[in-house]
């Protein structure tokens, strides 16, 4: 399958190419938004077209018997392990967001008529590991996640790839965060320069008085984009933070829309970006405050450190506001490591590489240390160090 074949075709042709029956509304939305190109606002910093020009094999997503384990493991889009008692089903998605800005959100749903539905019970912690084993493949799946009202759950997400190449992963969550609950998502994604590319298109619906905490730690090389569409009801809150540490020719980042629909809803979004080599970081984030969302509080900030002359940060924080009764702020800065600080450390016998690492980690730590689970925090720090030393091998 070549996704570029979906360019500029009508809904009938689309339904035929994708072998989709019914689902007219989805076909219509995808057709209206069109296959992303470099002219698409959301994908302009991400070389999406070259991914669509490749020929991919498609996979069969036949459900397997789920083996008991301490984590949910999804291999090439199929769940193979899960903790005991975890409720996981393959079902059609009941609540698709019909106002999503991302065409690949709709394409993902069109390609995955059955989604992986996960119901998280009580105050619990769940680990999901995504594993990719197929080369030259289009791996597409969507996960629908529900938690329970008045409960506080945490989801840790991790990615593992075998020695694969030229694969494209299209996946994403539809998260429904129940009233008066908290769902905390901690995503750690280390990638190599080659192997696979990934576009993750998430929709997070935060009910009344619920809290969403979304922390992403994107490290290493490769090409990956996460797109977030967040809807906030009355007194709902999201705390989104994104750490990017990229090297080589990596192009990765976040494109997001946080939509305040309910009164007194609050959002805080913080991005810290550290870019080495020829890497390009992306933070294209819109906060939209609807007329119904009086007394909103919204805060958005992006900071970037460029470690190399060729590194580049595309930072675009934006506010779109339709009311007067609110508090909102946004900003973006890009700079380099402080020479005085670097020299101070070196003047105490600390090597150039270690001094850089200390300063880079100090910059990143304000996000890493917000991960409450010590083991997960250590895993993130270890991954960070591993990627850092790989990027600095010429100095070692």
């Amino acid at each position: 399958m070549k996704l570029s074949n979906l360019k500029d075709i009508n809904t009938q042709e689309l339904s035929s190419v994708l072998d989709v029956k019914g689902r007219e509304a989805l076909l219509e939305r995808f057709s209206t938004l069109g296959l992303p190109s470099k002219k698409s606002e959301e994908y302009r910093y991400f070389d999406v077209e070259k991914l669509f020009d490749l020929e991919y094999k498609t996979l069969n997503y036949i459900p397997k018997t789920i083996v008991e384990s301490d984590k949910i493991e999804i291999v090439d889009g199929v769940v193979v392990t899960a903790p005991k008692g975890m409720r996981i089903y393959y079902e059609a998605c009941e609540m698709i967001d019909m106002e999503n800005f991302d065409p690949l959100y709709y394409l993902g749903h069109l390609l995955s008529p059955l989604t992986i539905k996960i119901e998280i019970d009580g105050d619990t912690e769940v680990e999901i590991e995504h594993r990719f084993t197929q080369s030259d493949a289009l791996i597409n799946y969507r996960i629908v996640l529900y938690n329970q009202a008045n409960r506080h759950a945490t989801l840790y997400e991790n990615f593992v790839a075998e020695d694969i190449e030229n694969t494209l992963v299209l996946y994403g969550y539809d998260m429904h965060i129940a009233q008066d609950s908290t769902l905390r998502v901690v995503k750690k994604h280390t990638m190599e320069e080659s192997g696979y590319s990934i576009v993750a298109s998430h929709r997070i619906n935060v009910a009344k008085q619920a809290n969403a905490i979304f922390k992403s730690f994107d490290l290493g090389g490769g090409q990956a984009l996460q797109l977030l569409k967040v809807d906030l009801d009355t007194y709902a809150h999201i705390d989104a933070s994104h750490l990017l540490y990229l090297n080589e020719n990596s192009k990765r980042g976040t494109v997001s829309q946080i939509v305040h629909n309910g009164e007194h809803s609050t959002s805080k979004q913080e991005a810290k970006n550290i870019l080495d080599g020829d890497a390009r970081g992306i933070f294209d984030a819109l906060i939209k405050v609807q007329p119904s969302a009086k007394f909103t509080k919204a805060e958005q900030n992006s900071k970037a450190i460029l470690l190399h002359d060729k590194a580049y940060m595309a930072s675009k924080p934006q506010l779109e506001i339709y009311i007067d009764e609110l508090e909102a702020s946004h900003g973006a800065t890009t700079g380099q490591l402080d020479k005085k600080q670097l020299f101070y450390l070196q003047s105490r016998g600390i090597s150039y590489v270690e001094a850089r690492k200390i300063l880079v980690i100090a910059f990143a730590n304000t996000l890493i240390e917000t991960v409450k689970d010590t083991r997960q925090q250590e895993l993130i720090k270890a991954s960070f160090e591993e990627v850092f030393y790989k990027g600095h091998k010429e100095y070692l």
């Binding site: 020479k339 020299f343 450390l345 070196q346 105490r348 016998g349 100090a362």
Partner: protein
């Protein structure tokens, strides 16, 4: 001052350096002896801070002539971290603040870099904290200062005590103190001076750069060098301090 090479730990010969386009050191000669305290005094803009920066390989300074011979080896091209590992230490006039870098982590990293360089075993966190305890007490530093971010929010006195703490831990052989007394109240000055005096072991050499003679009441110098317009114009014993206080730098005739 002419000595045998074995009596000299650092021999600075005809040193010329500039910062940006400005030539600041213009043929400076100075020999540091082991176990001695050398005080450098001079008017504003004479080149005192540039000298300290040049000796530790600061990126601001371009060395345009002369040589720095340290323990018999020319270190003109040596990187800053290597100079530090070899035993050259600068206590900064304005130590930089580094938010997010834990002071204890920084100190242990610096100490372990030095131990590794010397082929010794590195210290773990517990061993390091044990080793720190007496130094903190001697300097009148609260133990929470090492769990804070490096120099962040420290008062002027706390920053200088932290510099001396690093000196005590790293045990350097040439210790350059750039305006160590600036911004210190009398108690802090006493604590800092005691820390410095504790390091006197008859082998280490001290280069005390100062505007004022006050610090020299606490750290007794062996030599006073007057630095003016990028050169050492006079070297004498401690008695020169009172002459400078009385008559100022203009009265000094070049040797």
């Amino acid at each position: 001052m002419s000595k045998n090479s074995k009596d000299i730990i650092m021999d600075i010969q005809n040193l010329q350096a500039k910062i940006g386009d400005k030539e600041i050191l213009k043929g400076l000669n100075l020999q540091l002896e082991p176990g001695k305290v050398h005080a450098i005094m001079g008017p504003n803009g004479a080149g005192k801070s540039t000298l300290s920066k040049t000796l530790v390989g600061h990126y601001d300074v371009e060395l345009t002539g002369g040589d720095i011979i340290y323990k018999g080896k020319n270190i003109n091209e040596m990187e800053a971290e290597e100079r530090a590992l070899e035993g050259i230490f600068l206590s900064f006039q304005h130590p930089v603040e580094i938010p997010g870098v834990n002071n204890a982590y920084f100190l242990r990293t610096a100490l372990n870099a030095k131990l590794k360089h010397q082929g010794k075993e590195e210290l773990n966190a517990a061993e390091f904290l044990r080793a720190m305890k007496s130094h903190l007490a001697d300097l009148g530093m609260k133990s929470d200062m090492i769990s804070r971010s490096l120099n962040e929010g420290f008062s002027g006195g706390e920053k200088k005590r932290n510099e001396i703490l690093q000196m005590l831990i790293l045990e350097p052989e040439v210790i350059i103190l750039d305006e160590i007394d600036s911004g210190l109240d009398i108690d802090a000055l006493r604590a800092v001076s005691e820390g410095i005096n504790k390091m006197k072991d008859g082998k280490r050499s001290f280069l005390v750069i100062t505007h004022y003679s006050r610090i020299l009441d606490y750290i007794e110098p062996d030599y006073i060098h007057v630095l003016k317009d990028g050169r050492i114009i006079k070297t004498a014993g401690p008695e020169l301090v009172s002459e400078l206080e009385e008559n100022g730098y203009d009265s000094i005739k070049e040797d």
